[in-house]
């Protein structure tokens, strides 16, 4: 009784992997700074995280991203030269992602259950004649034994 659960858990693990979530968090932070990471850059972040390397992830920004950074100013009026993303315990990005994830789950689970249940019912009905034949065969064999053992008491012929 855990075939579907195992499939579900493996899918969750795939979705909830360090590289996938880490890359999502970094993407989230970069977008907050006005920089949209390219698919190649995201792949590079994922690859770095997959290897479980600690420390800095380095990749080149393209011209458009450079422009965005140069155009932006920090509080002191200086343009941002290096994009630095820090995470600490008070960071709320992970919480936002977790919330999205939970929301997604609460929607997807009832859908999975209803769809799988319809399939299971169909399969059960298809297999029912065979299942019932086996069950009735067992019942019939039991009744024969019962009749034999209780013949005198019950007056079975």
């Amino acid at each position: 009784m855990k075939i579907l659960q195992e499939i579900f858990e493996s899918q969750i693990q795939k979705y909830w992997s360090v590289e996938r979530i880490g890359a999502k968090l970094i993407e989230h932070k970069m977008k907050a700074l006005g920089v949209n990471p390219t698919p190649k850059q995201i792949a590079s972040i994922k690859s770095h995280l997959k290897k479980r390397k600690s420390g800095t992830v380095r990749f080149k920004l393209n011209a458009e991203q450079d422009q965005v950074l140069l155009a932006s100013k920090v509080a002191g009026g200086e343009p941002i030269r290096n994009l630095t993303i820090d995470f600490d315990d008070t960071d709320s990005s992970a919480e936002v992602l977790m919330h999205e994830f939970r929301e997604g789950l609460s929607q997807i689970i009832p859908e999975i259950v209803v769809k799988q249940s319809a399939l299971l019912l169909k399969r059960l009905k298809r297999n029912a004649p065979e299942m019932l034949k086996r069950r009735r065969g067992e019942t019939s064999a039991f009744e024969s034994r019962l009749a034999k053992r209780w013949r005198k008491g019950m007056g079975f012929a």
Partner: protein, 288 residues
């Protein structure tokens, strides 16, 4: 005998559905028991202990109901459904109350044994049975007193194990039903009770008699009245199975639960359709 028409108006589909429902419930309970029995024993999981045992009993009663329905004993089947409903209500209460109420329920066996011992001592001579020795009785009585001092005087009542959970000195089955929100099944429970007790209603009212109140003494099987006990069985067996499975929910058990609910509805509708068709053709015969 009332109408003797072919009870297979559903072409046998109704039996297949009900039997398949029983088989699925039985297998789900058996798999669940096998998967978690060792872990539950190790953790002294009283809820698991009670629910698996209640579920096995529910499957056994459902099997009895199926046999009675097949033989045309709607009233007998309905009387058995009454017990099935009681099991479901108790199971749902244990599930919601958790380990404390489950332990109280299990230990309540000591109260029932004491009451049975009292009765046996009173009647053994008349029955010509060997009397219970004083030593045997004292052991049972000591256990009884021990339980009362642990759980209080209200524990000696029939549903004393539920007294604390329901906050009632002397809870009744009605209180239990109310607590688990199954009060809507009470009219059926009362109707089924007529087939258990020797009250006047039970003498006059029979599910197997159609039209109701007909001046016929039903003294054997009938092909009428199977819909209520069949529908009730699907509902109650489904409820206790789902109650058990949802103590450890996962996707597979959710899917099985949903499947049981769908199949249960189909069983109710199928039996009702056959019942109505039988009543209609019976009426047509009378009108001729």
């Amino acid at each position: 005998m009332p109408s003797s028409q072919d009870s297979q108006k559903g072409g046998g589909k109704e039996w297949d559905l009900l039997e398949a429902f029983l088989e699925i419930s039985l297998e789900a309970g058996s798999d669940f028991n096998q998967e978690f029995r060792a872990e539950a024993t190790q953790q002294h999981d009283h809820v698991f202990e009670v629910l698996t045992r209640l579920h096995a009993r529910a499957c056994q009663i459902s099997s009895e109901i199926l046999a009675l329905l097949r033989a045309g004993h709607a009233d007998g089947a309905h009387a058995r459904w009454r017990s099935l409903h009681e099991i479901t209500v108790v199971g749902m209460l244990i599930r919601s109350g958790g380990t404390e109420i489950a332990e109280r329920y299990l230990l309540h066996d000591g109260i029932e044994s004491y009451k049975a011992a009292l009765l046996y001592r009173e009647q053994s001579d008349r029955l010509g049975y060997e009397p219970m020795t004083d030593e045997e009785f004292q052991t049972v009585e000591a256990r009884y007193q021990q339980l009362l001092s642990r759980f209080g005087l209200s524990y000696r009542r029939e549903y004393g194990w539920a007294a604390t959970a329901l906050n009632k000195e002397n809870p009744t089955f009605r209180d239990l039903e109310d607590h688990v929100q199954l009060m809507h099944l009470r009219p059926f429970y009362k109707m089924a009770s007529h087939n258990v007790h020797a009250n006047p209603k039970g003498v006059f009212f029979k599910l197997g008699l159609y039209p109701a109140g007909e001046e016929v003494l039903l003294a054997g099987p009938s092909d009428m009245g199977l819909a209520d006990p069949a529908d009730g069985t699907a509902i109650s067996l489904g409820q206790i199975t789902i109650t058990l499975l949802m103590t450890r929910p996962n996707i597979d058990r959710l899917v099985i639960s949903e499947t049981l609910m769908t199949l249960g509805r189909e069983i109710g509708e199928t039996f009702l359709k056959i019942q109505l068709a039988l009543e209609k053709s019976d009426q047509e015969m009378r009108d001729r």
